[in-house]
Amino acid sequence: MNYEIIYDFLTQPKVAIAKIKVERPWLLSVLVVTFAVFTQNISIFQFFMLGRKDILFSLSIYFLLRLVLIFIIWFFLTAVFHSLAQFFGGQGRTEELFLSFGFSFLPLFFLLPISLLSYFFLVKEFLATGWRVFLFYNFLNFFLFFWILRLQIMSIKEIYGLPLRRAILVYFLPFLFLIIAVLLVGIFVFSLIFFLR
């Protein structure tokens, strides 16, 4: 297994994607996703679940459920992006995009040391109250989220040979459709409630 792909994906994503196209590191990609989900779970528990009595059981169940969900979403999104990329004139393989997306979860590994540092160096009382913890946790996730976004858009761009703007369009189009669908459903439900009042 070529572990250097991990380092390259974080520092030189283009080089790493080129290697992924050639080597097809399935096992490494799946391991990265599994550990990334595990890391995220640990950091969530560290912020929100300290002191629980059934913590081992909760952690296990939560991790397994999230892992299954992430795999399903990973597979589904790859299929959607592949279709859209081809629709916009790109040429590439689903398998390569799938593996590259797996590596795009790598920034989540940094959640763990950041969570630990925040626990030890920031005001603990500040972290003790509910909504503040939630805000702070999401603030930390914010930067990692953009990093992951960048890696995924770059994956689409490099694998399908699309210009950057088109790659961005391919990435955001499904979410835009989802937002429009949710808005339409919301308007329908709201108008139904309005007439039922």
């Binding site: 572990y3 380092y7 300290l50 002191g51 763990l112 630990l116 009382e125 003790a128």
Partner: protein, 315 residues
Amino acid sequence: MEKRNLLLILIVLYFLSLIAALYLIFQAPPPAMVRKPIPTFAEAPLAKEGIALLKIYGPISISRGLGVPHGIDVDRLVKRLQDLREKPEIKAVVLRINSPGGSVGSVQEIYSEIKKLSQAGKIVVASLGDVGASGGYYLACAADKIVANPGTLTGSIGVILELPNLNELFKKIGVKIVTVKSGKYKDIGSYTRELTPEEKEILQSLINDAYEQFVNSIVEGRKIERERVLEFADGRIFTGTQGLKMGLVDRLGALEEAIKLAADLAGIKGKPKIVTEIEPWEKIMDFFRRSSQEEKFSLPDILREQKVRFEYILE
């Protein structure tokens, strides 16, 4: 080689962080991190027992004809009260009453169901909204306690019977109604003629009887002397504040106070689970039912729908 070393360092750091995080999770948190219990009523943990909240809004009548287009569905309300009686987890019922009253029969039907609730061991608290008068107040008398806002309109203790008389109108437009009847008083209250003194006496006796029933319910429910009740049971209205002074109301407050009172009387600790009465499916069916009703403006339709009003109602 350098890349490999850097990667190795990152992996080692990651696993050390993982061990530290796991250690943190599985150990008890330091005292500063433990959340203090929140004592207020609004944020206390939910209790298992529940309080049912039943809304009685609008005029009360079994038939929802032209007279009461937006009245409450009496049969559904009675059914709901019967269901609540069977639920052991419901310890108390709060009746949110915002009604000027309604037809005598309907009011008494609901009243008797509320009494059965009390007999089944449930605490019943009536919370009067804008208006809890006449028949609305009649229902509240069946409750263990009555809570009203200071400005709630209550009272209007009495019965009204209104009969339309279109005799003069028919004369003007040249309409004649012919009545063939089996008994002398069969067409009592007919809109085609004046009431005779005997008929008036008969109807007055109905009114007096219904009025007695109303007064008795107040005497029984509110534990007020009959003579005292008769002093103010002449149809006048009161505010909640005036009602409190006269013993018609137990406490001044809004719905939340009524719920708290019900929880205290029922011995429910913590924040009670509030159970409301309307199922989403019934709301949707109501929507379709309302939209299918047509407004009728023709004279024959009005005459056909015209009925004798015999009501505990605030006019």
